[in-house]
Structure formats: C-alpha cells, structure tokens
C-alpha cells in the first residue's frame, strides 16, 4: 500500500509502490469507458493545479482525473495569479493551504520546488514536473503503457533519445525502468547529454548505457522513447540546424526498422514534427503516443485515489 502523503519523484518510490499505482490505474481506466464517467470517491476534496510553466496535457489530464473522481479542482497559472505581482512560492503555498486545499499539483521551473512545498503545507503535494529534475506521473504513465503492450517492465531494451540534458521525463523514466531491470540506452548529441548523467543514478547503474549513435541506441530496441527538443530552455546553440539534428537524431522509418519488429514508439508530447520525429512515424502503426495520453488519466486517478482516498 502507498503509505505516503506526497508524490515528489520516482527516485524514492519502491517497486511495490510503483506496481500498486499501475495496478490501481489498471482498474480505474474502466471509469473512463462508462456512459457516466464519474465516481464519487473524492467528493468534497479540493485539488489545486498550480502551474508555473505552460502545460496542456498534464494540467488537463490532472483536471480530468480529479473530476472523474468527483474532487473539486481549481486551476492557478502563473500569468493569472499573484505570482506575477511578486509573491513568493512559499507565500502562495501558505495561502492555498489556508483555504484548506487537500492536494496541490505543482509544476515549477525550479528543481526541488515541490519538495520545498511538501515541508510547508498540510496538503498532499504532487510533482507535475520540476525543472530538469523529475516528472514522476509521466514516467508512471509511460510504464503503464509499456506494461500494457509488452506485459512486463524487466528484460526490455529501451532507447531514450534526444534532449536528455533538459529532460525531467528522461530522469524519471531512467529511475523507474532501471528499478525493474530494463536496459536503458540514453542517446543524444554530446551537447545535450549531461556530463555525468550516469552518476545521477547511483543505484542500478549496470542497466544504463550511453551512446551518441542513434543506430546503436535503436538496434534491437523493444521501446523507443523520443524526447522533445526543449527550445524554450535553450539560450545557446546546442546543434547547428533543426534539419541537421533530424538527420542524426531524428526518428524516421529506416531507423524504426532497426528495432525489434514489435517495437513501440513513445513521445511525452508536445512533438516537434520533423525535428525529433518524422510525421509518418508519429502517426504510424508502432506509435503508442495517444495510448500514453489515455494512460495518463488512469494513472493520475490512481495517484489521487491512493494519496487522498483514505
């Protein structure tokens, strides 16, 4: 059982806790297929979506998940809040706490922001992405999708390709997949690969492989996970042109053919079509990108239920 108040990252979750979240999500997915897509489980709970960075799918997904469990949801974004008047994160959090929120879902550009809140508030804190640190619900929905398609999380070859340096998705996935003994190939240009990424993950280091060759990364892969080039985080030049990046690190049909015949192609979205992934691959038969989005609602319902349900 999930005996914790906050979900801050994958790093400190046990395998049993991860499996409990995935199993619960498996049961809760059914609610979204009903004629009336709502259960009364979290009636009377107040959930605040506190987003300091632009987001469509994560925020919407959390909102839908909360509403399907009958919680009340309030959305706060940076542009429309007192934060733009200069209020500190801590004061904002204390204010929301004083309104008796049960849960705050936070996305913040600073790594560790959710951890700071968790120490100060009575509400449960869920990390919806903090800087380049972690994005635990994305890794959980990715694991849900992989398990659904492959039936397992161990004994897999997973290629994570692209902007590793700026990617909290990559970090959370790396923690999760290596906990289960999947082999992960991280692949990027040297400029987008953090200098000591293998030191970030102290445990399970034998499952992490680094390469600058896309051919090596995708060869025999069961899962190919493409990352978005995060132009908004780039204040210098990491590669000459988008066209050149696509030539070396973009996923096209020829590269997909080097993977296993039953490979699945994943992308956390939003996609830069023609930069990290070709359109015919993104919309092709191996793509599970929209399954990831559906899984997101079930996984977030599971997390809300497990943190707030009892």
């Amino acid at each position: 059982m999930l005996n914790r108040k906050h979900l801050l990252g994958i790093e400190d979750l046990s395998r049993d806790e991860i499996l409990e979240i995935l199993d619960t999500a498996d049961s809760l997915q059914e609610v979204s297929t009903r004629p009336i897509k709502k259960v009364p489980t979290l009636r009377g709970k107040t959930i605040i979506n506190l987003f300091f960075e632009a987001s469509t799918r994560t925020r919407t997904s959390f909102e839908i998940a909360a509403k399907r469990l009958s919680a009340d949801v309030v959305n706060v974004s940076q542009s429309t809040s007192s934060v733009s008047k200069g209020e500190t994160l801590i004061d904002t959090a204390k204010t929301l706490d004083a309104m008796a929120a049960d849960c705050v879902v936070i996305r913040h550009f600073a790594s560790g922001a959710p951890h700071t809140l968790a120490k100060l508030t009575k509400a449960s804190i869920i990390n919806a992405g903090d800087g380049a640190h972690e994005h635990p619900t994305q890794a959980l929905l990715d694991a849900f999708t992989i398990r659904q398609r492959k039936g397992r999380l161990n004994d897999l070859r997973v290629a994570i390709i692209g902007d590793i340096a700026h990617s909290r998705v990559a970090r959370s996935n790396l923690h999760l997949l290596t906990k289960f003994g999947a082999h992960v190939w991280l692949c990027s240009t040297p400029t987008l690969m953090p200098a000591s990424v293998e030191k970030i993950i102290c445990e399970n280091r034998q499952f992490i492989h680094l390469t600058n060759s896309m051919e090596e990364a995708v060869h025999g892969a069961d899962v190919i996970m493409m990352l978005r080039i995060q132009f908004e985080r780039m204040n210098e030049s990491f590669f000459p042109t988008e066209r050149e990046y696509f030539r070396y690190f973009g996923l096209d049909r020829e590269r997909v053919e080097q993977a296993k015949p039953d490979v699945i192609i994943m992308h956390p979205g939003p996609m830069n079509r023609g930069v990290e992934i070709a359109t015919d691959v993104a919309d092709g038969p191996y793509s599970v990108i929209l399954d990831q989005v559906s899984a997101g609602v079930g996984v977030r319902m599971a997390i809300l239920y497990l943190l707030l349900g009892a």
Binding site: I36, T41, L69, A310
Partner: protein
C-alpha cells in the same frame, strides 16, 4: 485453525458448510433465480471479490438448465464506499467489468455474505451510473443479519444468526484453493 487477519486474530468457531454443501446451495440459488425470472435472460454481476467466481458458477448452472448463457460481469464497490476516510487499510481497487447496454435488463447482484448492507448500498449507487436496469435483484450465499440499512436479498443460500464478534468466511476454490464456509470468532 487460527491465524492473523490484519491486526485481528481469528479462531475457528464452527464449519457452516462443506464443499459439497456449498456447491449444492449455489445450484439451488441458480434454480431459484431462473424460476423467479420466468425464463427472462438475466445479467449476473459479481461483487469483487468472491461474488465474481460465484456469479461464474451460477452462470454455468443456469446455462445447463436454460440452454441459454446469461451475461456475467464484475463490480468493484470501493470507489463508492461511505467509510473510505475511516478504514485503516486502503482497499485495493479491482476490476469493474459491466456488460454494455444493461438498460432495461434484469440484473442479479451476487455477493458472498450479506451483513450491514453497506456494500450493497455502494453497489446500487455504482449500478445507477451504468444506466436504468429493469430490475436489480440480490443473491447472497449467507445472510448473517445485523443490517444497518433497509436492504434485503431476493435469493439467500442460508440465513444464520451470528454474534457481532464473529466473521463469516466463504472460501472458494478459484481464490482460496478450497470450497467451504467457516464461522470464525475474533480473539
């Protein structure tokens, strides 16, 4: 026989039904369901967890007798509990699988033990989210009394008097590896 059940210990008080008696009782219940519904097709919905294999067994008997296979499904009521904030251990949410288009159908809820009636209250709430059934009927293996809500079963395998400190344990091969019903005492 005595063992730990969560934080409380249970000691065997007496065996209520043998494997053979359990199977015979289920067959009688299936026959009663068939008779009461006058040949109309029914949907058997098992309440997680032991109601699910029970519904499957009732369906097998009904298929043999009526030469027609009833639809079956499962229902998890944990999302509808009225005591979520009070239970010590958060319940595991299992699969709900209700057949589509059960509007205007005759639905039989199947559960192992009827006690306070709160599980069935939750199941009725859950079912209302799936449409408007023609009837909802209740089939339970054991009715042990102590109702806290105005709920009664249409089909009862056996009605017994119990004490508050007793627990009725229904064991089914599909889940527990054996068939039998035991009355246990909390110690």
């Amino acid at each position: 026989m005595s063992y730990n059940f969560g934080a409380m210990s249970l000691k065997l008080s007496y065996q209520l039904m043998t494997a053979e008696e359990l199977r015979t009782t289920l067959n009688h219940m299936a026959d009663d369901i068939l008779k009461a519904n006058d040949g109309r097709p029914v949907v058997l919905l098992g309440v997680q967890r032991r109601g699910v294999p029970m519904a499957r067994r009732l369906a097998i008997r009904i298929t043999e007798k009526a030469q027609r296979e009833p639809q079956i499904g499962s229902l998890d009521i944990n999302l509808y509990r009225d005591d979520l904030t009070r239970v010590a251990f958060q319940p595991v949410v299992r699969k709900t699988d209700v057949p589509p288009n059960i509007d205007d159908r005759d639905v039989i809820l199947v559960d192992d033990v009827l006690y306070t009636g709160r599980t069935i209250r939750a199941a009725l709430d859950a079912l209302c989210d799936f449409g408007r059934m023609r009837t909802i009927q209740l089939a339970v293996l054991i009715d042990r009394g102590h109702r806290e809500l105005p709920i009664e079963a249409n089909f009862v395998g056996k009605k017994i008097a119990t004490k508050d400190n007793e627990v009725v344990e229904v064991k089914l091969t599909e889940i527990d590896g054996e068939d039998g019903i035991y009355v246990m005492e909390k110690i």
